[in-house]
Amino acid sequence: MTLQDPPKRTRKDFQSDQEVRWCPGCGDYAILASVQKYMAEAGVDPAKTVVVSGIGCSSRFPYYMNTYGFHTIHGRAPAIATGLKVARPDLDVWLITGDGDSMSIGGNHLIHVLRRNVNITILMFNNEIYGLTKGQYSPTSPVGTVKKSTPMGSVDRPFNPLQLVLGSQATFVARSVDADPGHLGKILKAAHEHQGTSFVEILQNCVIFNKDFYKDAMERSVRPDKTVDLVAGEPVVYGKERDKGLRFHDMQVEACAPGDALVWNPSGPNSAPGFLMAGLSEQAGMPTPIGIFRDYQALRYDTEVNSQVQKAVAKSGQGNLKDLVYAGETWQV
């Protein structure tokens, strides 16, 4: 039996007729392009694809995708996506969110969708700012952030988004950046192929309110030395010359020669290695990790819920309304 080839599609097939309305220079454009490109290459069916989002600049994403799309309310997209995916496991559900949408107002739904491991792909655009409401600090902004609502600097310690999601039992966790379409494309593929909830943090440049916040690690010139890409089965090595290695020692990460570097395994049942790596950049002198922090197979809520229904039907037969109504003790008058 040969499968029919999916129709060849191009990026254009995934572009809606709506004018894209982010600020010129916004990192969202690059992410949009990467997603459309990935979908075309992967042969995704636009009619079977739904892009759900919350509210924020990032969350305008669905309007620009020529797929089904649902621009919902602030923070609630994970709950809506859960209902959708459980109801329609045949659909391919993507969720686009921002750091405010997912980590501030939407925090509860985010941690719960991850715990449930609903089979959807979450892209969280982290620009460390509320873009749409014109530049207040967000739960991912570092302490001391001076913005409109924090004229003397913010005093709340930020989330480490990857530690938060790992703490929520996420099964796929990755990080990439808007400005590196090659890397982003790779991560999108891995995330989409993962069975279960995939969480991808994409560092995204808000040129208006938080311009180049990530440049210390992400600017093209410094990127090789200031970031380390975690790739399954490969040694944890970085640097322009790939001359720096990292390994574990007593629940810490330490520098080592490339040859002694740890071989990265994000797929164990234990998520502590990813958790430790996620905190790496807070350690002085250490690079910012990107790539895949966790990729682990576990029970999926959407599948299990539906299989219980199937089991119940298999056991008691397809329920019929008359039996339901006329159940229990009845009598005639």
């Binding site: 089904y68 649902f70 229990g328």
Partner: protein, 617 residues
């Protein structure tokens, strides 16, 4: 110590028309089971009946204390009845706390059955009583039947090998047996129920069945009562197949029915909350009907999951109570904006805030009709009794899918936990309203409208019909629009769509004459007491008629005409007068008299009768 008992050769069997019994005891005493078994049996013998369970607020308040008292009142009758009765004829008090909490409501001269086995020193102390109320004159004027039920059960089960604790647990069935004898009920239904309930522990089947029979026999061997009674089956009940049903259960069944008539899968998103939780629990047991239940992390996620399911082409449903409704407010607005079907079930309880979760109130009406940001109209329906829940649930589903709108279905704690005989519908009397998804790409107006004003429902996954929807104002293609005229038009269309539902509704039927002095107007769970009030007024020759609203928004057609026939319209409500205020704003030229009650308890007949008399005086 058994008093008031004389031995006569043969006890007379008296026929009575209606009886109100209240069972009261510790929440650990199985009072609710006793009550519901009595209910089931009475239903099966063909009585009309109405019940009022009254749970303690705590899960298990310390045994023997006043807050731990659990109550169950039932009125059963050989003629039509509509309420569980104002004051009980018989009070069964399993301990001193139950006695003092309930005694003041017993009818003067009524029968008081007490379990003296629980009137020891420490029992009195737990109930915060200095003296024994059986001895200090408190029970004077009642016919007191004292039975040491603990002892009697111990004796009856002496030969069984189960633990003495397990034996003690049988005392509610002994009590039930006594009452079965007193009111000439058959034992079989309960014996059968016990056999099924404990099928995994046959020794408990035996023990409970023995206790039941011992109680019955205790009555029969004339140890206690002067006479016993018979309440004949009701002749006025329309013929058909009946089943005893609780409100939440009937609602759940009706919602499944609604989804099946719409040819959709039912997907419930819910977060547990008293008194709505049993809807979730019931539906979770209907998986073989294709029903999906999601116990969400909170009420917001619950409604959002339901919206997601509706978006995916299922019938989304969410169930909750007041505080949960409050939390769903924003998401309801989204459902209105994107025009997706959705049923929102609110089993009301007493507010504000956490309020009194186990008590009844009808105070979420304003929230349901008007409580959202923006102009956000939504249809609101109300169930009025357990036997009405099936039909109203189907009606909510029908409106939701035919008009592409979220619908609020109101119930309340009294309906939810009340039970009554339900005359089962003929299956072919249920009119299907199957949904046809729009799948013609050549005609892609996502917010185009049909003759009802509803937009097409397009299933994600349909090739060539990819489109976007969202909470920002949108044009008829679904694209974001800030155009002023568009917003005006869309707002109007949303409003008219809902108002137009009224056209499909029947004019409410009037009970009584079309002209008169007072029109009794109710909604929701006051239907029984209002019917009773109407009957009493009629008997007295008062010019009183009655209507009951099942659709609260939009209001049904024809009200203006109906109201014109009456001098005053009396609106009793278990809130501070919400419907009355709403009616005043819709009907400027009528005289609405609000009768509010917010004690957490249903109306008593005489409370409304008094108001009718006052108006007519």
């Amino acid at each position: 110590m058994t008093s008031n008992s004389e031995s006569t050769q043969e006890l007379p069997l008296q026929q009575v028309d209606r009886v109100v019994i209240r069972f009261a005891g510790d929440s650990g005493d199985g009072i609710q089971i006793t009550g519901s078994q009595f209910t089931m049996t009475s239903a099966i013998v063909g009585n009309d009946l109405a019940t009022l369970p009254d749970f303690p607020a705590e899960i298990r308040a310390p045994a023997g204390t006043r807050p731990g008292v659990s109550g169950f009142q039932i009125q059963f009758s050989s003629s039509d009845i509509h309420t569980p009765g104002d004051a009980p004829d018989v009070l069964v008090a399993m301990n001193p706390a139950a006695l003092v909490v309930n005694l003041k409501e017993l009818k003067p001269g009524g029968t008081l059955v007490v379990n003296t086995g629980n009137f020891k020193e420490q029992d009195l102390r737990k109930a915060k009583l200095d003296k024994n109320p059986l001895e200090d004159g408190s029970v004077d004027g009642y016919r007191v039947i004292e039975v040491d039920i603990n002892e009697r059960v111990k004796e009856a089960l002496a030969e069984l090998t189960i633990s003495s604790k397990d034996k003690e647990r049988c005392k509610n069935f002994y009590t039930l047996g006594l009452m079965y004898w007193l009111y000439s009920r058959p034992l079989e239904p309960t014996l059968k129920w016990l056999a099924d309930k404990f099928k995994r522990t046959p020794e408990l089947v035996e023990a409970n069945q023995m206790a039941l029979k011992a109680g019955y026999n205790a009555g029969d061997i004339r140890e206690l009562f002067h006479s016993h009674y018979e309440v004949l089956k009701t002749e006025s009940m329309p013929p058909g197949t009946y089943r005893n049903v609780m409100g939440n259960q009937a609602t759940a069944i009706g919602l499944v029915a609604g989804s099946k008539l719409a040819n959709l899968r039912l997907v419930l998103g819910s977060y547990p909350i008293t008194p709505a939780s049993t809807v979730l629990e019931t539906l979770a047991g209907y998986k073989s009907h294709g029903v999906i239940t999601i116990q969400a992390e909170d009420e917001i996620a619950a409604i959002c999951a339901a919206i997601g399911a509706s978006y995916g082409g299922c019938l989304g449903l969410t169930s909750t109570s007041g505080p949960g409704m409050a939390l769903k407010t924003e998401a309801m607005g989204l459902a209105v904006a994107v025009e997706l079907p959705l049923v929102i079930l609110d089993v009301q309880r007493a507010g504000p805030s956490t309020g009194m979760p186990t008590k009844v109130e009808q105070s979420d009406l304003f929230q349901s009709i008007l409580g959202r940001n923006g102009d956000t109209p939504m249809p609101v329906l109300a169930i009025s009794r357990p036997s009405d829940a099936f039909e109203m649930a189907i009606e909510a589903c029908r409106i939701a899918v035919q008009y592409m709108t979220p619908v609020i279905l109101l119930s309340d704690n009294y309906i939810a936990n009340g039970a009554e005989p339900w005359r089962l519908p003929e299956m072919d009397s249920l009119k299907p309203f199957p949904v046809h998804f729009h799948d013609d790409p050549s005609n892609m107006e996502v917010f185009g409208r049909n003759e009802l004003g509803a937009r097409p429902w397009i299933l994600p996954g349909t090739p060539g019909m990819e489109h976007r929807i969202g909470g920002l104002e949108r044009d008829s293609k679904g694209n974001v629009s800030y155009d002023p005229d568009n917003h005006q038009r869309m707002t109007l269309e949303r409003q008219n769509k809902i108002l137009n539902i009224a056209k499909t509704l029947p004019k409410p039927t009037i009970q009584g004459e079309a002209q008169g002095d007072v029109l009794l107007l109710g909604w929701g769970s006051t239907v029984g007491v209002l019917t009773r009030v109407f009957e009493e007024a009629k008997a007295k020759g008062q010019k009183v008629s009655r209507i009951h609203l099942r659709h609260l928004w939009p209001l049904p057609p024809g009200l203006e005409d109906i109201f014109a026939g009456f001098k005053k319209i009396l609106v009793p409500e278990l809130n501070m007068g919400q419907l009355a205020r709403l009616l005043r704003s819709e009907f400027q030229h009528h005289d609405f008299v609000s009768l509010p009650k917010v004690t957490g308890q249903p109306f008593l007949t005489h409370e409304i009768v008094k108001e009718v008399d006052r108006i007519l005086a």
